[in-house]
Each structure stands twice: as C-alpha cells, then as structure tokens.
Symmetry: C2
Subunit: 325 residues, 2 copies
C-alpha cells in the first residue's frame, strides 16, 4: 500500500508539501496540486481521513439535526444542505431527533465527541442551555436560541399575513388557523401572529387550533381537522400551517361534501415540491427552501473559517395563488 | 480538561479497563460500566471518538448512498435506516448521488478514506467494478452487483403481476406501463417483467414507456405522460412504476377530462406515506419500506461484526386497492 512518502518521492517534493496539498494549507500552485493528485492516483494512495482529521482537528463533517427526514419539508431542506455542503467539501451526518429528548441529547453528545466541525439544527426539544454549551459553530433553522447563535428563517409573519389577507379578500367570514406548536420557541409561531393581527384588524371571526408540525403525525392531523369542522361547521376559510395539514383539510372537506373553493377556501404553507406535484391546485405560502439551506450552510462554513456572521437571517416568502382559494 | 487517566483514578481501575468500557470490549459487569460512566459524567470527560476510531479501526458510521433524499421513497427509507442504525449504535453519513457519476465516485472515495464501517447503497451510476473494489461491508438496495454482495429488494416481479392482474380484472383492454430506466441493472426492472408476462398471458393490448424513477424529475414525468395519452388516446389502464408518476397520470386524466376510474384506471407503486396522505384514493403496490430498511441495516451490521449474511433478500409486496381502479 502506497504511503504519503511514496507520493512525495514520485512528485519530488517533501512529505510536508504533500500534506499541505491534502489539507489545502498555505500557498499551493495549481501545477503542484495537479502533480500531487496525479501521483496519488497512479499510486492508488488513499489518505486516511480520520488520521488527517486528528492532525488538522477538522473532520469536514457537519451534523444536521432535524425532527424527521421523511417529512417532505425537511427532506427538501436536506437535499439542498447536502448539495451546498458537498460543493464546499463538507459531508453531512444525518440525525433525526424524532422529537425525542433522549435521542436529541444522544446525538448532541455524539456530535461533540465526534468533533464534527459544526452543526445545523432544525429541531429542538432540549433546553436552550444544552445548545449554548455546545461550544462549536452552530446555525439554527427557525430557532432563536441565544444572542450569539445565528439563525435562518422565512419571514413567517409576512407569510401569515399574506395567507390571511388572501382569504379575507376572497370573502371568507370565519377563518380557522391550524398552527404549529405555539409553546415551542419556534420562529414559525410568527405565522400565527400574522394571522391574528390580520383577522383582528379586519374584525373577522376566527378560530385557532394547534398541532405539531415537526413530526409526520398523520393521525393527529386527522383528529384535529375532523374536530375543527365538527365544532365549527360554518368555517369558510382555513389557513393551514403546512401543506400536509392542508391536504388533510381538503380530504375532510371532500368527506363532508364541502366544495373547495366555493364553500371553503384553503391556504397551505411551505410550498414543498411533492405537494405541488400531488396537490397541484393548492394555494400556499412558499418558503425559499433552497435559499434557507444555502444560507445555513454558508453561515456555518463562514463561522468554521473564523469569519463573523450575521445573527438574524430572515428570507422572503411568496404567495402562490391557485385553485383552493 | 479531564483525561481517561482521571476517570480511571476516580473509579479505581486501570486505564485499560476504562478503555474496555468505552469500546464495550470483553466481559464488563453492569456495576463497573455504571461506575465508569458516572465518573465520566462527574469529570465531564469527553472521549475523543476520532481517536477511539483510529485505535479501534471502527468509526461506527454507515455511509448511505441514495439518488436523492428529497424523493419521498428515499426519505422514507432513510428515516427507518437511521432509526435502526441509531438503535445499534451507528450513525449515518448521508450521500445523495443525484445520479451524477462524478459525485457518486467522490462519495465512494470519501467513504473509503473516512473508514466508515460499511455502506448501504441505493444508487449506482458507476460500473459494477467500482463497487466490487470497495473492500468493505456493503449492502445494496434493489441492486445486484456481484455474487458476493448482499442485496435487499421488494418482490418487484410479484408487484408487477398484481398491478397488471388488477387492471385486467377491472376490465382494462389497453394498458400502459410507465417503467423505470430499464437499462440500469435495477431489480425494479422485474416490475416490467411481471407486467409483460401478465399482459401477454392474457393477450391484452399494451404499451411501455420508460422514465427514470430515481430522481425527482417532475418535468420529465409530465412530458412522458402527456405524450403517452396523445399517442394512445384509447388507453384505459395505467400501471405507473411509482406513486409520483401515478400522480402525474391522475393530473393528465383530469386535464383531458377523462374520469378515473370510469375511463382510465390507475395503479401506482411504492405505497409511500406522503402519497397515501396527499392522494388517499390511489391504488398502489406497497413496498415494505420499513422492513427493507431494517433488513439492510441488520445485514450490514452482521457483516461488520463478521457474521455470514444471506445474499438474496427479497421481501413481499402488497396490493392496496382503492378508488383509482
């Protein structure tokens, strides 16, 4: 098996120079890099990344903690995070917390011990303190943890306003908002604030029910939506806090013989691709999922590289008006 | 910062014993383990996993190579793979090949160099030879690479038969099959074989068009389905090789004013949860996604631990008959 010394000899440079090329450290001419990589190829030299990591104190791995990769919003975020990370030479360690405190803590400890270079966090069931003590670059999605931790989020308040104004403009007199969990300190709660401020401003009758957006809780959605229409048969507008919940509302309307949009108008949230594909007529608030991913990866890598990064990163949403309103 | 020596002193055992506990090696009493972990906690000792990996030659990381995590089939496989791996003390490094040869090769080299303990592979654009030379435990999903590499797959042939028989039983006279890429050596090709054998046996008029199932190629699906109905306006049955493609067929039928199931009957494949949720009436062939994931993780870990594993692992599918047939 070829060693780094063999590569150095083949190129006619020192081992330190080869090591500098492998770690991309200091000034390196393109010609030198080309020759080193060519020699590596010819000798079939496999640098041991673990050993290199120890030496450099860098693993080039980012830990991604999300609630559930099978939720379409998170799988869509994940493909973009992975794509941007890959382009920057980073790999992704996938951690699904499944909103389980023990699992999330296990992963957090594991990520600390594995010396990943940083963490992108889109889930938190643990106390903010646990995250503050992490002591490595950390960027959150939709979570505002402390004064020092940067976060990326959509403009949820604006999204809540846009959805509600659309329903009011279309003539709705009694509107329900099916929100996410309002007790978690998620920035997505601002969708609720945008809703409440708008219905109050226009003195519109309204109802709010809570669910948990982060998991893939189909049965919970069904129960909540069924009860909502049972209690409020006169609803004529629903602002659902995710496209998945909007799907449940559409199903329930069909079951009850209510026509959409004639009897009930429905707006979702997220603008996930799979929703666009399977429910092509759904009006929704589109989050800039690709930009969120790109921004999170950029902030994290900048931080890893010692660049100061802005704390607040709020990205614009877009109203997509289709057949359900 | 506490060292392993501090932990050993606190417990009153040797460093070797603490190391054995950390690596779960040899006989260890529950009491000893408890005392060591308690001392670690009290001293806030963080074992350096990278250093331990080098020592043990084990990273407890599994590389997962799939085409695209944002495709619902793969995101659903991934959540189960991660869950079972986590229960066995393994972490998942997420690699999306996006059907890009260069990216897949990069990841493969990276996984070799990082010394992951094994690979679960659900994507291949590279030559079989590249995989044979990997020289570490490898389990494939739906891919038969060589005599020595174990694979996990649904009973695609049976699925093709079940879908086609259902359409024939419901009275279809001209059936289209929208298949995956038949040139890739995927076991999913057996869906096509099951279709062809069944229509031929019953002397039913049929058409086959190919697409690529692995990516999230919405525009491609649209083009293929539009052309299919343009060329064959007399189709009265479609067996789509994924629920996503079935969604496109349903949209096209709606656009053309064809009623489902009266004018055209449609069966999908996969039985993904998000499809069940957003298209509750779709008849489909359900793959045992959770069992596929569980089997793949078990086989891989067994192999890593030196146990001999069966090469062929074919799991049963299930016909789910709903409103579109």
């Amino acid at each position: 098996m070829a060693t780094i010394k063999d590569v150095a000899e083949r190129v006619g440079v020192s081992v330190t120079t080869v090591s500098r090329v492998l770690n991309n450290r200091g000034y390196l001419s393109e010609d030198l890099k080309r020759r080193v990589y060519q020699a590596m190829e010819e000798l079939n030299y496999q640098p041991n990344e673990l050993a290199r990591s120890l030496f450099r104190k860098k693993s080039n791995i980012i830990g991604l903690i999300i609630p559930d990769i099978s939720h379409p919003f998170f799988s869509e975020i994940a493909i973009h995070i992975e794509t941007f990370a890959y382009k920057s030479g980073y790999k992704i360690l996938l951690c699904n917390s499944q909103l389980d405190k023990k699992k999330e803590k296990d992963y957090l400890n594991m990520l600390k011990a594995s010396q990943v270079d940083g963490i992108i966090m889109g889930s938190h069931t643990l106390d903010t303190e646990e995250y503050k003590s992490i002591n490595m670059p950390l960027v959150t999605l939709d979570r505002q943890l402390s004064e020092s931790i940067p976060y990326v989020s959509s403009d949820h308040y604006k999204g809540g306003q846009l959805a509600t104004k659309l329903l009011i403009r279309k003539g709705c007199k009694k509107i329900a908002h099916i929100s996410g969990n309002l007790k978690l300190h998620l920035l997505a709660k601002a969708r609720y604030d945008g809703f409440i401020d708008t219905v109050k401003k226009h003195s519109i009758n309204h109802v709010v029910v809570q669910t948990d957006l982060n998991g893939f809780k189909y049965d919970e959605y069904k129960k909540i939506v069924t009860e909502l229409f049972l209690k409020h048969p006169d609803l004529d507008g629903v602002f659902a806090s995710s496209d998945l919940i909007a799907a449940q509302v559409l199903k329930e309307c069909k079951r009850l013989g209510k026509r959409v949009p004639e009897d009930v108008k429905v707006v979702g949230f997220d603008g996930i691709r799979v929703g666009e594909f399977m429910m092509p007529g759904l009006s929704t608030i589109q989050q800039p999922i690709k930009d969120i991913a790109k921004t999170a990866v950029k902030l994290l890598i900048d931080w890893i590289n010692g660049t100061e990064v802005p704390r607040e990163n709020i990205l614009p949403v877009k109203l997509i008006e289709k057949e359900t309103t």
